[in-house]
Amino acid sequence: MHKVYHRIEQIAGNVIMVRAEGVASGELAQVVGTLGVSLAQVIRLERDKVSLQVFAGSRGISTDGQVRFLGHKMDVSFTEALLGRVFDGSGQPRDNGPALDENRIAIGGPSVNPAKRIIPRKMVRTGIPMIDIFNSLVESQKLPIFAAAGEPYNELLARIALQAEVDIIILGGMGLKHDDYLQFRDTLEENGALSRSILFVHTAADPTVECQMVPDISLAVAEQFALQNKRVLVLLTDMTSFADALKEIAITMEQIPSNRGYPGDLYSQLASRYEKAVDFEGAGSITILAVTTMPGDDVTHPVPDNTGYITEGQFYLRNGRIEPFGSLSRLKQQVNGKTRDDHRAVMTTMIQLYASYKETLEKQSMGFRMSAWDNKLLIYGERFEKEMMDLTVNISLESALDLGWRIMADCFEPEETGVSSKLIEQFWPAKAGTAGKETPDEAAADETQAAEKAE
């Protein structure tokens, strides 16, 4: 029923050109080359000239290769049978399971009507104080981890995924090292989470064009589950590989680059994926945690830069720790006013003090004399890094807030912190001997500690 074309007039990069009639923009085709059959997608029409992007790359395609148009756009099968399975970027099985063909849904679908979104309000607890206190993660948030190559970003991603209370985890891997992919799969399996996970994995060895499909395919499936009332967490790593795939195709198509070779629509391309994160009115939600590696550890590089303008904050991972500066959860206000009365005050004050500590460190490194205040800050900063920032710390938000007060009280006088008098009265831990205003247990613990110190 679909006509087959045999004359490929141009092959450049991963783009081929044939002359054909009645072809639709965005339509899929099957291309047969000497290395096998690949899908391809129509990306430009000019009278009867049809340009197609070949998913498996153009290597092995000859001028008399076969092109058969399929009459529909890129789609994926959506069924419960996806759970526990691993696929590649074009939706073909990567594990030894069967290919799925029922209930095909289009990928890259339209945007959610803003009128059908609700204000996100559920905190996702991670047990990581740098997130829970300082930059709370919220259901339906889109948030990348900014990191230089070599940082343990995938470990952090996996840890949050396992600790978060979600129904379904979808991993979209782009340019992953094969080992990293296996590590992800094994971690999910060991923690009993594989059966509620779906993996779409493009590895560094796979064709570039497939890398481009990973976010769309992952998010299309996520969207369907969310419409069925599921809370879905989508992990996308590494979005810089995705952007590089876009760059490659833009250059092949001779588009004028806007910045360091990236196409002018990089922002819109990234946004149309990240904006799939949503809390539906009357259905489920999609939360997106991504990784954006920063080439040269440079946050002004076009990929992290454009990402930062799109996502609802970012976590900076540096030297294996989440940096308080630059890290940001834009949705934290939605949730941190409802956790505990002191949450916001602890958050703001501890960071301001940590900023002062950094200034003091600078002064110290220049050999200046340390004032009494500087010395206080030095003690504070070290404790903050060791007891709050270290990623091995795994405690509840409430314990982390208590710990925050204790660190501050050990280092400063109440008025030196700038916390409002009302909160000081309520939360400032009692010094040895006086009655505490916290819960009796903690106050007792405090006293014992103080007593120990006194000895």
């Binding site: 965005g26 000019e46 339209p110 945007s111 004028i256 806007s258 970012q314 002064k363 004032s371 008025e415």
Partner: protein, 577 residues
């Protein structure tokens, strides 16, 4: 209707090339018919018998040979009662109504009327039979929320008209005739409550444009006191991501002392609009006691919505502002972010293969930005009343570097620059306007000599701070050190403001005058300390008391007590003590 149908000959992203036979106008709207649907598009270039159109929707499925219906109309908006409290997309489709029709997702090719066709409005005629009128004159009014919405002679009518007939006072829908006008040739034009206007053409049915001189109070201290905005002025907020551009616009939209706020969410996050959309109906406007939504209108073309409609969205917004200005109202347009619109221009320019300028932006970027901001202004209407459109646009510079084309082009045409700064937002010094780099040419709410003194403290304090980084605290004299502490005090207790606090978050003009005078006294006072540590300690405490002071209402006992506390603290360290 004369049919003018063209044929698609090329598709590249959302740019289509169309072959035509009958005349086609630059800027004309066309509909690309593909299968069952028709996609709205706009002519952006014509070359011999081919027109290039940017399609305001995803073009997947469009084929060579598909027909295109040219409409002979430019891109327009509908103007009439019922615009307020609406939430539109960039092409003025009401989003809640779209949701009723298409559910969770936006469906392409679905266009709805902007104004409610069923609703009845209580019309009171103003013009009498026989009156001479011209475009923009009031024919009658209908109550729209808290305003008397003027039904005006359509702006597109040129020359002078005589009112031939007016309807009785009563209830009418927007499509019913309210007046008949006769021109000099005797031709009759029927007028309803709705008129359409091309978005890219400014509405100029007023007597004259005036210089913006009245401050527009935003209740943000650092703005009103240091970098004020004027009614009818234009200003910009550039800043790297996360520096607080959107939050600043959100709080401005809540507190600004204007009649109407039009929010244009242009190519940024949907979630941010949802906050406004869901919260504003619940919030009361302290000026009117009514819901804040009644004075608000949202144009929402967020980042995953069609790119080409981003440009339309800012023009749709400003046209609606100009319409309400004609009623003698003060209107504020907040656009977040103008860079996304500029990027949309860049995408299209790239597809057209135009010769690129800096960072691949088109060469005409500067003139497009200038023409947009020129649409702000205070005007004197022909009835002697005043109206204003104030425009505040955020700019999202790549890499946070202000040396880029959009920021630079914008800085050339605005009257105030609120530069947000990464170091300040990292240090949680919100609102993160840079107090030394920002500027404004508009008059503020506070005595200018006091502001000049405070600014000098900031400058000198900053110099001491820079010097201390080289010579250390020990190499700094106590006088200089105190100067530095004073500038830090001014920063922490006045420039910084807790935007999410009921009272601190919105400081009205009288309070700014009162508090700023007190802060100024403190800055001017000669204070003495035995050593630097005690100076620092005293200032920290003073800051903490002042912050408490900022958090209590002005008419309370507590306010007085805290003020006395400040006075007595000051007395303790002053030379008289």
């Amino acid at each position: 209707m004369s049919e003018n149908v063209g044929t698609i000959v090329g598709v590249s992203g959302n740019l289509v090339t169309v072959h035509f036979d009958k005349p086609v106008t630059q800027g004309e709207v066309g509909f690309v018919r593909t299968g069952e649907i028709a996609l709205k598009a706009e002519v952006i270039r014509i070359r011999s018998d081919n027109a290039e159109l940017q399609v305001f929707e995803d073009t997947t499925g469009v084929k060579v040979g598909d027909p295109v219906d040219f409409t002979d109309n430019l891109l327009t908006v509908e103007l009439g009662p019922g615009l307020l409290a609406q939430v539109y997309d960039g092409l003025q489709n009401p989003l809640p109504e779209l949701a009723e029709k298409t559910g969770f997702f936006l469906q392409r090719g679905m266009y709805l009327k902007a104004l409610d066709r069923e609703k009845q409005w209580d019309y009171t005629p103003v013009a009498r039979q026989g009156d001479e009128v011209t475009a923009g004159d009031t024919l009658g009014t209908v109550p729209e929320g808290i305003f008397a919405h003027r039904i005006m002679v359509p702006f597109g009518l040129t020359g002078s008209y005589t009112v031939a007939e007016t309807t009785e006072a009563g209830s009418y829908t927007v499509d019913q005739m309210v007046a008949k006008l006769r021109d000099e040739q005797g031709t009759i034009t029927e007028v309803t409550m709705v008129q359409t206007w091309p978005v890219k053409v400014p509405i100029k049915a007023y007597a004259e444009r005036l210089r913006p001189t009245e401050p527009l109070v935003t209740k943000v201290r650092i703005i009103d006191t240091f970098f004020p905005v004027a009614r009818g002025g234009v200003y910009c907020i550039p800043g790297p991501f996360g520096a607080g551009k959107t939050v600043l616009q959100q709080i401005t939209s809540k507190h600004a002392d204007v009649d109407i706020v039009v929010l244009t969410a242009c190519g940024e996050r949907a979630g941010e609009v949802v906050e406004t959309l869901r919260e504003f109906p619940e919030l009361t406007d302290p000026r009117t006691g009514k819901s804040l939504m009644e004075r608000t209108l949202i144009i929402c073309n967020t980042s995953s919505m069609p790119v080409a409609a981003r440009e339309a969205s800012v023009y749709t917004g400003v046209t609606i502002c100009e319409y309400y200005r004609q009623m003698g109202l003060n209107v504020l347009l907040l656009a977040d972010s103008t860079s996304r619109w500029a990027q949309a221009l860049r995408e299209m320019s790239g597809r057209l293969e135009e010769i690129p300028g800096e960072e691949a932006f088109p060469a005409y970027l500067e003139s497009v930005i200038a023409a947009f901001y020129e649409r702000g202004g205070v005007v004197k209407l022909r009835d002697g009343g005043l109206g204003s459109v104030t425009i505040g646009g955020t700019v999202s510079p790549a890499g946070g570097n202000f040396d880029e084309p959009v920021t630079q082009a914008t800085l050339k045409v605005v009257g105030a620059f609120h530069g947000l700064n990464r170091e300040r937002s990292d240090a949680r010094r919100y609102p993160a306007l840079h107090p030394l780099d920002s500027w404004s040419k508009y008059p503020g709410v506070v005595d200018t000599t006091q502001v000049a003194e405070a600014r000098s403290v900031l400058h000198r304090g900053n110099e001491v701070d820079q010097m201390m980084k080289v010579v250390g605290e020990e190499g700094t004299s106590i006088e200089d050190f105190v100067l530095y502490l004073k500038s830090e005090y001014l920063d922490a207790s006045y420039l910084q403001q807790d935007s999410f606090h009921d009272i601190d978050g919105a400081t009205h003009a009288e309070r700014q005058q009162y508090v700023f005078a007190k802060v100024n006294d403190i800055l001017a006072a000669k204070v003495f300390f035995p050593d630097k540590d005690s100076a620092r300690k005293w200032f920290l405490q003073l800051t903490s008391v002042t912050k408490d002071w900022n958090r209590v209402a002005m008419d309370t006992e507590e306010f007085k007590q805290l003020e006395q506390r400040l006075d007595s603290m000051l007395a303790e360290v002053s030379e008289h003590a």
